[in-house]
Symmetry: D2
Subunit: 357 residues, 4 copies
C-alpha cells in the first residue's frame, strides 16, 4: 500500500508524468500552525535543477493545500496537498516503452501489474518523494513543539567520507551544494560528482541522519522498534541499499565490554557515557542523539549505452536521455529528513497512550 | 504494537519469566499441511543450551497448537501457538529490579511505561523470538508450496568473515555449531567465541540471508518495498544494528556503469547478468537471489562489573549473572530465517490481488 | 481515520467549502478499464439540484483523475480523484461560526478539536460523500467483472413504505425522482416531501440495498463479518441511525423453526428455500441475495427558528439559511450503493487468500 | 481478520472443541490494576448452564493470564488470556460432519475454506465470545478510570418489550435470570422462553445498551464514527441481525422539527433537551447517554427435524442434539457490554491525539 504511519499517517499518490502528485496526511492533531513558506523551502531543497551537481531539469514544485487547514491551523481533518506536474508533454518515450532499463523498476512493474506508466518511470520515479517532503515539513512543525530536531547531511560520496557527525557543525549543511557540513570534504565531493558527470556516469553516497532532543520513551518494543521503523522508512526511499544506526556494521567487531553504554547521572537526567546504542535501547529512545546512516546506490540512469532486453525478450540497447542526477545524495538529504520526521511524529503520537495518565 | 504482517499476520505475546509466550498467526490460508516435527526442529535450532558456544541455560521449548489446525491442516482461522516457560521460579532479581543494566531496555521501559517486568528482561528478552520462529516455520511451509527457499548463515563473527554467499554451499550451514557453511572460517569463529567467553566478554557478528526461487513480482512499491519490509523485520530482532541488501554499503563506492545489472534472456526467463540489485528492483522481486546482511551487536550482558545508576539515580555496579550467550549470531540464524519467511509469505499473499485475474 | 477498507482501500479528504474534496483508492488491481462517463453519471445521481425534491443548490460535481490510470486502465498504483468545490465564496457564516446548530456536528467538533471549519459544516458536511460515490463507481466496475450487482432504492419516507424488494422491479428505481421503484408509492412519497418542504421542515426515510450474484464465500468470520462491515459502512453515512439485514429487527419475533433457511439442491447449486439470513451466514455470503435496510433521520437543517447556545453558552436562535434537502433519501441512494460496492470489492479481494490455491 | 480495535486492540483465537480459546489485548496502557475476580464474574455472566432458561451444558470458563500483567498491573505489553476448553471429547459429530445445518455457518465455511472444524461449530461457535468478554472486562476497568459506565439489558423477547431505558433502573438487570430490569416484563419473558424451550424451538430478542458519562469528543468523524464502530462491533456478535442507536428506525417517521435536539446550558455543561441523537453527533460523543438496540435472531439450533443437504448435495435431515439455548439474549447481555466497552476504550485512547496538547 501507499501509506506510511500509524497515527500520523501519510498516503501518497501520483506518477512522474501524470497531472499531479500529492499526499494526504491523516491524524495530524488539530491546532498546529502551518507555515506554508517553510513547506515550500523544504520542497525547494529537493527540487531538480537547484545546483550544477544535480539534474539540470527545471521543475518548480509548488504545492496547494486542499483541505485540513483553516485560518492557518490544522483542524484535525486530513491535510491534502497536491503538487502539479509541469512536464506532462508526451515526449518520445518509445525507447523505454518496450524496453527494460537496467536496475530500474521497468521489468518488475511490468510483470507484477501486467502494465505500467512508462513515462519518466511513472510511479517508480523519485518524483514521488516530493510528496513525502511536503508531509515531512508538517511533521517537522509538529516535532518542533516538543523540541525534537531532525538533521541530515551527506557523509559520503563514492569513497570520500566526512568525519563523524560528532565532529561536525550541522548548521553548515546548507552552506555547500553537496550538503556536507565539512567544507574540505564538500569541496572534494563536488569535484568528484562533477567529474563523474563528465564521464556520463553516476556515483553513490551515504546520508547521515541525526535526531536531537528526543524525549525518553518514543518507539514501540518488539516489531515497531524505533530504529526498525526508521530503517523501513529509509529503505523505502528510492535507491537506498542499506541502513545502520548507532555503532552499525562496525559495531559487530567490538566486544560487549567496549560497546556497552554505561549510565550516569547528569544533573537531573540519566544519560549514557558513550552512545553506541544510537539513542535507542530495546527499540525505545533513551534521550541521547539518534544517529543513522543510509546508503544510496549510484543512480541507475547513465548517459551510456547498456545492453538489455525488450518485452519480447529481444536484445536491445538503452541509454539515458535528458538530464539526470550524477549523484542522488545532495537532493536525498531533505528526503531523509522528511522520512525521519514522519517516523518521529508518528511515535510521538503513539506514545500518548503508553500509560494510564 | 506487537503484530507484524498485513495478510499473513503474527501477533506475539509473553514475557521471559511469565507463564508462557506465544503467537497468533492470522491469515494463513486454509488447507496448509502442518508438520509439527518441523516446527519443533526450528525451535530447537534457536533454543538455549544447544552447543558449547551458546548459553548453557537449558530450556526445552516445546509448543502446543491451540487452534486453527484440524486433522493436520490449517482451517483458515487463527493459529495460536503457546510455549510454556519452564523457568518461572522467582530467582533473585534484586540486582536488576532497581538498577538499569547498560545497553539493555531496562531504563527505556521504565520511563516509557512507569513499570516493567524486570525478571529476565521481561518482554524485552530475546525469548520472545521463539514465538517468531514457530510462526516462521509455518510461513516456510507455505513458501515451500511455491518453491521459495529461505536460507541464513553466520557470515561474520568479530572481524572474521566468510567468503561471499555465492561461493558457499548453504546446505552445510548446520554442519557446524556456529552455523557458518565455510568449514575453515567456522573453526576460527568457534575458537574466537570460546575465547571471548573465557574472557567473560561478548562479541558481535553478521548473519547473511539468501532467499531463492522467488517469483517475479513480490513486494509493494513505495513504502512497503520488499527490501524495506525485510529491513524492518530484521531490525526488529533484538541486538540488530544494521541491514543492507544486494551491494549494500559497499555499493556506494561504485559507478552506475559498474553497478547496473544488465538484462539478458536465459531460455524462457529474463535474468540479470550481475545481481547488485540483490533480487529487488523498485521494491519488487525480479526473480534473482535476494540476499542481505544483518549486523548484530555484541550481547549486552557480560560477566564483568559495569557502572550504572539505579532508579533513584545513585551510582551502582551490575554484572551479568547466570548463563548467557557470548555471541548471539549462531542462535540468530533461525530467527533471521523466520522473519524473512514471514515477510515473504506476507508478500506472496499480497501479490494475489495485484491485477485483475 | 479517514480511510475505509483493507485491500480495496479509500481515503477521503476535503471540507465543504475548501478548494476541493477528493479520494485516493489504494489497492485497486491493475488492468481495470475505467469508464469516466460512468463515474460522472454516478456523481450526477448524488449531486444537489437534480430535482424539485432535493436542495435547489446547484453544484456540478466534475472530477479529475490525477493518478493511477494510464491509457484508460488502472495501473495498480493509487487512483486519486479530486472534485473542485465551486462554492468557496466566503458567504456570511456568522450565524453558525459561534453557534451550535441543533443535531449537527458543530458542538462535538468544537470540543474535540478546539477548532472547526464552520463554513457549510466543513468536514462534517455530506459533501464528503461525493468522494465516496466516485470511489464506489470504480468499485462497481470491479464487481461487474464477477457479475456482482449492487442496487439500492428508497423504501420508506416518513411512514410511507414500499412493498418488500422481492415484489419490485429494481430496474425502475431511476424512473422517479424519489428513487422508489414502486410507482404508486413513489408518487405519494414525492407529495409528502413536497409538503414537508413547504412546511419548512424535513422528514426521514429508509434506503434498502440489494446485492445480487455474490459468489459464496465473501466475508470474514468473527469481527469482519460481511454484514458487520456493511453495517459500519452504512452507519458511517451522514444522518444514518440504523442498519438491519435479512429478517432484521422483525426477525426477533419469529421462532427458530420459522426463521431457519433450509438448504436444497437447485441444479448445480446449493440454495436456501427462504432467505431470512439475508444472504449471509456466519458472516460469509451464501450466494443468495444480500439485502439490508438503512434508516436516515430527518435532515437537521430546517427553515425554522430553533433555540440553542453559542460558544460562550449564551442562549441563541438559529434557522436554516439557503437551500437544503427536505428529505435526504433520494440522494442517499447512490451513496448507499457506493458504500456497498466498496465493501464488496474489499471482500472480493480479501477472498483471494482464503485457501491454498 | 480476527482482530478488533485500533489502539486498544484485541485478537481472538480458538475453536469450540479445540484445546483452548483466548485473546490477546494489545495497546492496553501500562499501570492499569487488573481485578481478576471481576474478569471471572463477567465470564460467569456469559457461561452456559447459569439458569434454567439457558443451555444446561455446564462449562466453567476459568481463565489464565499468560502475559502483560505484573504485580497486579498491566505493563504495556500484550495481555494474553486463555480459557481452556473442557469439553474436547470427540463426541459423535457424524450428523454435522457432512451435512449443512440450516442457518448455521457450516455451508459457507466449507465453501470459503474448503474445510472446517465441524465439532460444535468450530470457530463459528458463540464460544468465541467468551474471549471477548474477558477482554471487555479489562476495557471496563480502563473506562472506570474516566467514569464511563457500560450497561446492557434484555429489552425484548419475541414480541414482549420492556419500557424505554429512561424508565428503568439499570441496577436491577442482574435481579432476574433473563436480565430485564423491569420485573413484570422479565417474568413474562422467562415464561415465554420456558414455553419455547418445551416446544423444542427458539425465539429471538433485543438487547439494549446504554453508555453513561462519556466525555464529549470520543469518536472519529467520517468512517470511524462512534456509532458506526458500535454498530460493527454489535453486528459482529453471533446471531445479530440489526443495530440502531438513538431514535433509530422509528426516527425516520419524525419531522426534523421534532427530531432535532436543542442545546441548552446546564450549569457548566452544554446539554441537549432531548436525546434523539443517542449521545452522538457527527460521529462524536456529545456527553449525553449513548443508547442503542441490538436485534438477535432466534437461535438456529432447534430440537426438531429440518431438511437440508449434505456435502454431495443429497437431501438430508438434521436435528439439534444436546443442550442449547432456547433464547440467546440473556447470555448476550455481557457480550454486548464487552463489545461496547472495547469500542469505547479504543476511542478513549484514540482521542488522546486529537489536538496539540
Amino acid at each position: 500500500m501507499n501509506s506510511y504511519g500509524t497515527l500520523f499517517k501519510i498516503s501518497t499518490f501520483g506518477e512522474s508524468h501524470g497531472p499531479a502528485i500529492g499526499v494526504i496526511i491523516d491524524g495530524c492533531p488539530a491546532g498546529l500552525e502551518i507555515n506554508e513558506a517553510f513547506i515550500q523551502s523544504e520542497l525547494d531543497r529537493r527540487k531538480p535543477g537547484q545546483s550544477k551537481i544535480t539534474t539540470q531539469r527545471k521543475e518548480e514544485d509548488t504545492f496547494q493545500i486542499l483541505s485540513g487547514v483553516f485560518e492557518g491551523k490544522t483542524t484535525g481533518t486530513p491535510v491534502a496537498i497536491v503538487i502539479q506536474n509541469q512536464d506532462q508533454r508526451s515526449k518520445d518515450y518509445t525507447h523505454i516503452q518496450n524496453t527494460f532499463r537496467p536496475s530500474h523498476a521497468d521489468y518488475t512493474y511490468e510483470v507484477k501489474y501486467g502494465t505500467r506508466d512508462y513515462r519518466g518511470g511513472g510511479r517508480s520515479s523519485a518524483r514521488e518523494t516530493a510528496a513525502r517532503v511536503a508531509a515531512g515539513a508538517i511533521a517537522k512543525l509538529l516535532l518542533k513543539k516538543t523540541g525534537i530536531e531532525v538533521h541530515a547531511y551527506v557523509s559520503q560520496v563514492g569513497t570520500l567520507k566526512a568525519p563523524p557527525y560528532q565532529h561536525l557543525d550541522l548548521s553548515k549543511t546548507e552552506d555547500t551544494i553537496v550538503r556536507c557540513p565539512d567544507a574540505a570534504t564538500a569541496e572534494k565531493m563536488i569535484a568528484l560528482i562533477d567529474q563523474v558527470r563528465l564521464e556520463r556516469d553516476t556515483v553513490g553516497g551515504v546520508v547521515t541522519g541525526v535526531i536531537k532532543n528526543t524525549p525518553v520513551g518514543l518507539g514501540e518494543p518488539v516489531f515497531d522498534k524505533l530504529h526498525a521503523e526508521l530503517g523501513k522508512a529509509m529503505l523505502s526511499i528510492n535507491a537506498v541499499k542499506g541502513f545502520e544506526y548507532g555503532s552499525g556494521f562496525e559495531g559487530v567487531a567490538l566486544r560487549g565490554s567496549q560497546h556497552n553504554d554505561e549510565f550516569y547521572k547528569d544533573g537531573d537526567r540519566i544519560r549514557t557515557k558513550t552512545n553506541h546504542s544510537g539513542g535507542v535501547q530495546g527499540g525505545i529512545s533513551n534521550g541521547e542523539d539518534i544517529y543513522f546512516q543510509v546508503a544510496f546506490k549510484p543512480v541507475a540512469t547513465i548517459m551510456q549505452d547498456q545492453t538489455t532486453v525488450d518485452k519480447e525478450g529481444n536484445e536491445a540497447i538503452v541509454s539515458g536521455k535528458g538530464r539526470h542526477d550524477p549523484c542522488v545524495v545532495p537532493r536525498a538529504v531533505p528526503i531523509v529528513e522528511a522520512m525521519a520526521a514522519l517516523v518521529m511524529a508518528d511515535f510521538l503520537l503513539r506514545s500518548k497512550t503508553s500509560r494510564i495518565s
